[in-house]
């Protein structure tokens, strides 16, 4: 997996061989997962027929690709990045683990900062401010406007006076709105 970049076409096609092996792995997982299921007979197909048949077909194509790769020329395997997948997918995992427990107010900034580490261009202060702003904005959008049941602050991290001020402001705004509406319609 750690190859020199920009390798030209060679006598064998590494990408086909690797792709074939990849298919074999998928086929094996599929076959093992469906191993105990009954195949049934043609007038009453069992639950195992399709998974097993598909696994065998996928394996056949895997072998075909490996042979093709061994015989013919083709492109080399592309380089795999480690950093990007690690931080980006790590951020998603972090979000999944923390969202129930800590709510958006914890999971949001964590996911943003963690994923930002995937890029060289990230600037610390900028991303910190951005993470907080984005979290608040998405909380406002998904929680307030769309009423989605995503937890925002289950731990009660937001100081109560801030929360109260927010509720008061919202009520005031709503009051103002109805007053305006009344003034317009009357």
């Amino acid at each position: 997996m750690s190859q020199a970049p920009h390798r030209g076409p060679s006598r064998r096609s590494a990408i086909d061989i690797a792709g074939g092996l990849f298919l074999l792995v998928i086929a094996a997982v599929g076959y093992i997962g469906g191993f105990s299921l009954p195949v049934g007979h043609l007038s009453g197909i069992g639950s195992g027929l399709l998974p097993k048949t598909l696994a065998v077909l996928v394996a056949a194509f895997g072998i075909l690709l490996i042979l093709q790769g061994l015989i013919g020329p083709g492109p080399a395997l592309e380089r795999w990045a480690i950093r990007g997948p690690f931080f980006v997918l790590g951020a998603v995992v972090l979000f999944a683990v923390t969202i129930r427990w800590g709510g958006l107010i914890i999971a949001g900034p964590l996911a943003v900062v963690m994923s930002a580490l995937a890029s060289d261009e990230t600037r610390p202060t900028e991303i910190a401010i951005f993470a907080v702003a984005l979290t608040l904005l998405s909380g406002l959008m998904f929680k307030e406007l769309l009423n989605l049941p995503i937890p925002f602050d289950p731990l009660g991290l937001i100081p109560s006076f801030v929360a109260q001020a927010y509720i008061a402001a919202k009520a005031a705004l709503a009051g103002l709105f109805t007053a305006l509406k009344g003034a317009v319609t009357s």
């Binding site: 086909d16 469906g34 598909l54 996928v58």
Partner: protein, 503 residues
């Protein structure tokens, strides 16, 4: 027949023109464009991300909004293609060729304008085509037995093989993997758990949104991070938005031809719509007095393909609404969205829920009009949006994706699974496979198994049923011809050339 058409469209207009539905359509178009202009975020990722925002709405409104999001995402993709030279998806690849050149010459406004106008005209024509074809096709669908449905889906998948880039064996293999993934979960007939490895979270099967987000949302970000793309945001002025008389004269015929080509190709199962822009571009280049202008900012090269793109995007709804078979990955996602709202796509929609059916179709037309009206004035905003550096954009996309996936079922496990599929999708691409046919295989897989079983029960276990029935025999023969043609050297070369144009 004509009277029916008009009364049906009138019914649709009555539904779509309610204040609430107009607002939802508007909102869908706007948000769809907003997310769709983000470079590297195609319609699939956009729809998945925005799916939860339609949850609180009634089914009709939700579908209207989703359709709006879909066009918005399509249009947003064209905007990015013209202004930044990054196609959001396969169908806007062609737009980058001449559109971005026009933008560099200070004619970005005209390119965006003609794209919107061409799309609008194509959308109008496509809406009428859908309305006219829906009834006869639905009637035809009633003649379809399980064996015929099965054969039709085989044909669709074969088209998907032909239309995929890269080698034919790889395309077939990845579709098979998609079908294999579709068997995960509880078997509907026997109630046995399949391929779940005792993991109860997936006993209901994998969610199409989870798969789509992993394959198209996260994997795309991973690839974007690798290639440090010189994001070539146009620095030249956007210029006049309205094309002048000469532009119109040059674009009229390409728009008409593009609309026709796109509308016909969009009807094909197996993502025929993706061919539309390529075919239109090739034809315009062949017909042009001076083909060398193409690739250097020829307005026909934007007008034709963009019209074809939009016409195809819309007629692609026909197989879904009339037969219940999604023709491409985006429509596959629409199936998922409809299912969430308790709607099973298929021929019964039109008869049982006419207001939903016709409301959605007319709202397509209204949506196209809205795109024209809202997006052209907002182009300045999109440009500013595109100048946000990618280092800020991708963490934001990731957060929105996470919130979106979590909100579908309020399940953190699904978010985890999305990460898994992100890695899987990254591997798929690195090994030279294309993820879109896999998603199509995944969605068609369940339907195919169901129909296969039904067909064999009816025929008492004889495979001859697929050959005895003229419809299914014909469709299977067509599939065979398709796949044979695809591996023939001459056609293969032509196919490579078509895609080469894009690279």
């Amino acid at each position: 027949m004509t009277f029916d058409l008009i009364s049906n469209l009138a019914l649709g207009l009555a539904v779509a023109l309610t204040l609430k539905n107009l607002w939802l359509c508007f909102l869908g178009c706007l948000i769809g464009t907003l997310i769709g202009v983000l470079p590297g975020v195609g319609p699939i990722a956009t729809i998945t991300m925005l799916l939860p925002i339609t949850f609180g709405i009634d089914p009709v409104g939700a579908l209207i909004m989703l359709a709006g999001i879909y066009y918005g995402a399509q249009y947003g993709g064209s905007t990015t293609a013209i202004l930044v030279n990054i196609p959001g998806e396969a169908t806007s690849v062609v737009t980058t060729l001449d559109g971005h050149q026009m933008a560099k010459q200070g004619r970005a406004g005209v390119a965006l304008g003609i794209a919107a106008i061409g799309s609008f005209i194509a959308g109008c024509v496509a809406t009428v085509i859908i309305a006219a074809l829906a009834a006869p096709l639905t009637a035809m669908a009633l003649l379809f037995g399980p064996a015929d449905y099965f054969a039709l889906m085989v044909l669709g998948l074969m088209f998907a093989v032909v239309l995929a880039r890269g080698s034919v064996p790889k395309a077939i293999a990845i579709i098979l993997v998609g079908i294999l993934l579709s068997t995960v979960g509880t078997d509907l007939e026997s109630g046995e758990e399949r391929l779940t490895f005792g993991w109860s979270e997936i006993s209901d099967g994998l969610d199409v949104a989870v798969l789509a987000m992993g394959l198209f949302g996260f994997a795309e970000i991973l690839r974007n991070l690798e290639v440090t793309q010189a994001r070539d945001v146009v620095r030249a002025a956007i210029g006049n938005l309205l094309p002048n008389r000469q532009d119109f004269a040059q674009s009229a015929a390409p728009i008409a031809r593009g609309t026709l080509i796109g509308a016909i190709l969009g009807l094909l199962p197996g993502n025929g719509a993706v061919l539309g822009p390529f075919a239109s571009y090739t034809i315009e280049k062949k017909l042009a007095d001076d083909p060398s202008r193409f690739g250097r900012g020829a307005i026909e090269g934007v007008a034709g393909p963009e019209s074809a793109n939009n016409a195809g995007a819309q007629t692609a709804f026909i197989p879904l609404l009339a037969l219940g078979i999604p023709p491409n990955a985006v429509m596959a996602l629409m199936v998922g969205a409809m299912t969430i709202h308790g709607i099973v796509p298929g021929p019964q929609i039109m008869t049982k829920q006419p207001n939903l059916f016709w409301g959605m179709i007319t709202s397509m037309w209204i949506g196209n009009l809205m795109l024209l009206v809202i997006n052209l004035p907002l182009i300045g905003l999109w440009v500013r949006f595109l100048k946000v550096p990618y280092r800020l954009m991708f963490p934001a996309i990731i957060l929105l994706c996470c919130i979106g996936i979590y909100s579908i079922n309020n399940s953190p496990v699904e978010v985890l699974m999305t990460a898994g599929f992100g890695l899987f999708g990254y591997a798929v691409v690195k090994f030279g496979f294309e993820p879109a046919p896999m998603l199509l295989g995944f969605v068609l897989g369940r339907l195919m198994e169901e129909k296969l079983r039904q067909a064999l029960v009816i025929s008492r276990g004889s495979f001859m049923t697929f050959v005895d029935r003229p419809l299914s025999a014909g469709l299977l023969l067509l599939s065979l011809i398709t796949i044979v043609l695809a591996v023939l050297p001459a056609i293969r070369k032509g196919r490579e050339e078509v895609f080469q144009e894009a690279d």
